[in-house]
């Protein structure tokens, strides 16, 4: 009996492990991916969002990314991306890779990276608010951003 039990468990692990092709991180696609859902904040806005805009633009080289959102202050940036569903097995690796890439691209600021649906939704809301409100205060942005960063780090 115990032997059978262990066999059962082992086979379960084998089945599930089989689905997991690790370390196949994202490769840049040949042509730019224009299907990404992203919104650039106007350059004329009093808040300087060109870092975020750049970051979002650089996601275009990956065919697997379906949406990119980012907001930044002059010290930090919170970015969130959504990938195609069948890539989600490797979500942790994708996140690691993209975060590293963003950190290298913007070494002078802190980059927070997320793939969480909630963060995507909140960043989307924040981007739209900033876009609408020309006089969006940097202090308010700072506060909002800190709130979202701590939310993205919550574990349980």
């Amino acid at each position: 009996m115990p032997v059978k039990r262990w066999l059962l468990i082992a086979s379960m692990i084998a089945v599930i492990a089989g689905c997991n092709t690790d370390d196949s991180v994202l490769e840049p696609a040949g042509s730019p991916n224009n299907d990404i859902e992203l919104m650039k904040i106007s350059k004329d806005h009093q808040l300087d969002q060109h870092i975020s805009n750049q970051a979002k633009d650089s996601m275009r080289k990956y065919a697997e990314v379906t949406a990119a959102k980012a907001v930044n202050t002059d010290k930090k940036m919170l970015m969130a991306v959504e990938v195609k569903h069948n890539e989600r097995f490797n979500l942790a690796n994708i996140k690691k890779q993209l975060k590293k890439e963003m950190e290298e691209q913007f070494p002078h600021i802190t980059v927070e990276f997320s793939t969480d649906k909630k963060i995507i939704l909140e960043l989307d809301r924040l981007e739209k608010e900033i876009q609408k409100d020309i006089a969006y205060s940097p202090k308010k942005l700072e506060k909002e951003l800190d709130k979202l960063i701590s939310l993205s780090k919550e574990q349980t």
């Binding site: 009996m1 969480d116 909630k118 963060i119 939704l121 993205s152 919550e154 574990q155 349980t156």
Partner: protein, 159 residues
């Protein structure tokens, strides 16, 4: 499994068991599996709906929405158990209602309700984990062993 057990029995018992096995109504495994798949899948689908609801309308992330989802499902289970519906679904769905956390909730809640006639301390209190206890005991113990092994490997194995 069955053959090994049989070997230790007297010959007449072995003979009877073989005789009986031919007449025993077999469990409809395929049918049961399909039912378990559909009902279990449906419960997980409802769970995903609740998770999505919490992400969209409350301050929960994908990471943190799991806990309120489980709590909500167990709350629903309490109502279904209390109104005597869950055991009916369970007879139909088998593992489909036993394996999701709703099954765990049902095991705890049904024991709690059952033993209220023996009082709240000695009846409900000491019996409510009668069925679900092993899950907690071996869940905690195996998690301990695994975390221990992993920590040792990380610390000394440089994993």
């Amino acid at each position: 499994m069955a053959d090994k057990k049989k070997k230790n029995l007297p010959p007449d018992a072995q003979e009877y068991q073989t005789f009986h096995d031919k007449r025993e109504v077999k469990r409809p495994i395929l049918k049961n599996c399909i039912k378990a798949f559909l009902v279990g899948g449906f419960i997980c689908f409802i769970g995903q709906l609740i998770t999505t609801f919490y992400i969209y309308f409350f301050n929960f992330t994908e990471q943190t929405a799991g806990s309120p989802t489980v709590a909500t499902l167990i709350f629903i289970t309490m109502l279904l158990t209390g109104f005597g519906v869950y055991d009916r679904i369970g007879q139909f769905a088998g593992a489909g209602t036993a394996v999701p956390v709703t099954g765990f909730g049902n095991a705890v809640i049904s024991s709690a309700i059952e033993y209220r006639t023996e009082g709240f301390i000695l009846g409900v209190g000491s019996n409510m984990l009668k069925l679900a206890g092993p899950v907690i005991v071996y869940g905690v113990f195996s998690a301990f062993v695994i975390a221990l092994i992993k920590t040792i490997l990380i610390q000394w194995g440089g994993l």
